[in-house]
Every structure is written in structure tokens, then in C-alpha cells.
Homo-oligomer: 226 residues x 2
Amino acid sequence: MKKYAIIVAGGSGLRMGSALPKQFLLIHERPVLWYTLNTFLKSFKDVQIILVLPADFYDTGRTICDEIVSQHPILTVVGGETRFLSVQKGLTLVKEQSVIFVHDAVRCLVSPSLIHHCFEEAIRFGSAIPCIESKDSVRILDGSGQRAVERTDVKLVQTPQTFLSEILLKAYQSADKSSFTDDAMVVEASNQPIHLVTGEIENIKITTPLDLAIAEKLLEPSRRAS
Amino acid sequence: MKKYAIIVAGGSGLRMGSALPKQFLLIHERPVLWYTLNTFLKSFKDVQIILVLPADFYDTGRTICDEIVSQHPILTVVGGETRFLSVQKGLTLVKEQSVIFVHDAVRCLVSPSLIHHCFEEAIRFGSAIPCIESKDSVRILDGSGQRAVERTDVKLVQTPQTFLSEILLKAYQSADKSSFTDDAMVVEASNQPIHLVTGEIENIKITTPLDLAIAEKLLEPSRRAS
């Protein structure tokens, strides 16, 4: 089955202020995004990557791609103002019935084995959404205040969120769902069920200096060789 | 106001199997627990620490305490089978009206400023429960399956959970609530409101090798000196 990976590397980049968006920060002399792209290409030699870039950093992203040799050269497109609009733009480049991964560029610690697992489960169930449990107790705010919920009932959602193309394309064709922060919500809003799979503790989103320090540790050349 | 810090260093330790419980693992040649105890003593010189230890590792914990010089020597007690029973045993050593911190021994990255903030808020509101927001999208399992919830409505609960002694002692006096995984739930079950405060991203629970690697990074001698 054909495979596409839409790597979402930010919308306008405005949320980051004037700083370099996190996906371009260097870890052991390579940008965060470089690790993400390479892990997908290492997982499936025949995957077609569609990289969605912020307009202000299009050239930065394109330069990273041009240094990477792959069977299908990486396609790039400028993103929209929201995650929904960015994924929607990426999906315009999907040309075949396929399995589509949608992945945050800043989750550069994803493993090939999670990518493979999501692929297999999406073929079987139509979708595969990696989640982990919270280690902390959890409270939910609701109209009247807040309440405790069972920790084991709470799933923290990661990417790659993975779908059969017919399901994802249909969900993104309908009205704008810009308020949705992930693809599972978009698909669910089109009345399709969502299949959860077990994610990875290490598959963190690089958003703080602490995260960057963790990634530096986990991506030490000695570890990557093993 | 008098201050007690109940540091919960595990019940029977059985969940860890045969390995050394995480609170005794070494980071830069010091046990995780050592950092936790020292941060509390650094925060308030007059705090009375009550350390709740697993029976099998009582001597290990006591040795760590004996190396630490403090205004009030650290009190130690053997814990129970559950977190609830362990905290309850710790509370038997509280002798004065006070502010009581209940803290996980494995949260060795807590900062003095968070401890101070919890103290001030507990005096004002009766309780202070540090929480952070999830960076990931969140789904909740319920009877009929699972559903997405607004990420900003989800609070991941940390420690030190901090209370005026009259509130916490009363909550722990009533029937056994062994199924509760934190003190906020116990207090809430006694019909007292809970006050949330902003926690710290770095204030993680050391439970996995990844967490230990993070703590090693954040507790590097060069950082601690700053």
C-alpha cells in the first residue's frame, strides 16, 4: 500500500515570537526536523513525505530537505494559519489511495517501530492514534469547577496519527474545523470511529528547553548507533 | 506557621519488583530522595520532615536522613500498603496546627519557589494543588468508548499537595480511601474544596529510565550551582 507522511512543521510560526521555530533548532548539529524526516524515511523506504512549512521559514525547511536523499524526493508546501488548514494543504498533494501518517515535526524522537505499528493498525482498523497514559493524577475542569478522573481513563495523544486515505480525505473535505488540535478530532467529527494504539513515552513534543535537553540526551550519537 | 512535609517514599516497594526503588537510585552520586529532602530543607529552614519509608528499605532511607543536618531532625516511619495508608501513618506524627506538604519522594526536581508558592496559597485558600496543562491532545475513556476533551481543561496533578492541617487531618481521619491516588481526592471526598495552583514542567515523577536521564541533566552540578 502507498504511504504518505504529512509532517506538520508549524503554521505561520507566529506563536514562537521572533525565535527560530523549535523544528529548526539544532540537536547535535542537526535540526529537529532532520531527525523526524529521517526516521520516517528509515521506517519505509517508499514513503512519500509531504512537509508543511511556515511561509517565513520555507527556505529553511527546503534546504533541510534538499540535503536528504530519498526514493521519493520530499514535497513541500506552505501551511495555513491553523493546524487544520496546514494539514488540509498537505492533503492536496495526496494522489493515491494510501495510508496517511500525520506527524508533528517537533516529535523527532518517534521510533520506526511505532510508525510500523501505526501503519499495520490503520490498515486493519482504518485509523491508529498513538496514546500514552498520564503518570500524574488528572483533574478535568468543567462548568462547575473541576473534578478528579481516573488516571487510567486519560489518554495523552501523540502522533503519527495514521489513517486510510479515504477516511482522512473525507474528514478534511468537510467544513473548516480550525479549532481542532488533532486529526483524530477531525475524523471523529465526520462520524468515523477512532482506534487507539499504545504510543511511546519517549515520543515527546519538543516545546520547552527541558524537552530539547531530553532530545539531546536521547539522540546522543552513541545511542543512535545502537 | 509551623510546617510539616510528609515525603512519601513508597509503600511496600513491591511494585518495583526486585529492583531498587526509584527514590534510592543515584543521580550524580546522590540518591533521588536526597535531592528531594534537601530542596524542602532549603525552602524552609524550620520545616519538620516526616519521611514515610517502605519496610524493606527503612535502613536505606534512614541512612540518607542521618547524613543530612537540619534544624529539626528528619522523622521516619514505615509506610502502609497504599499511598493513602502511608500518608495516614505520616500524619500520626503531626503534633501542631500547621501547613502540611505531602510530596512524592521521586519528584526530586521540585523547586523552592513552587514550595513557597504552595505554602502561601494554602494559607490563603486552605489547599494548594500544583497542576500543569497537558501539551498533548487528550482523550478520556468512558463507558461507551472514548472522546476528545479540550486540552486546556485537563490538569496534570503534581505534588507538593499542600493543606492547612485541620483540613488534611480531618480528611484522613474518615474511612479508608485506599483507592485514592492523591491527597486532593481524599480532601475532596470529605467535602472540602480544592485550590489549584500552577505547577512546574520540570517537576516530574521519576519512574522511567527517561525520567532519570532528564533528572541527571537538570541536576548537573553546574546547573545546581546557578
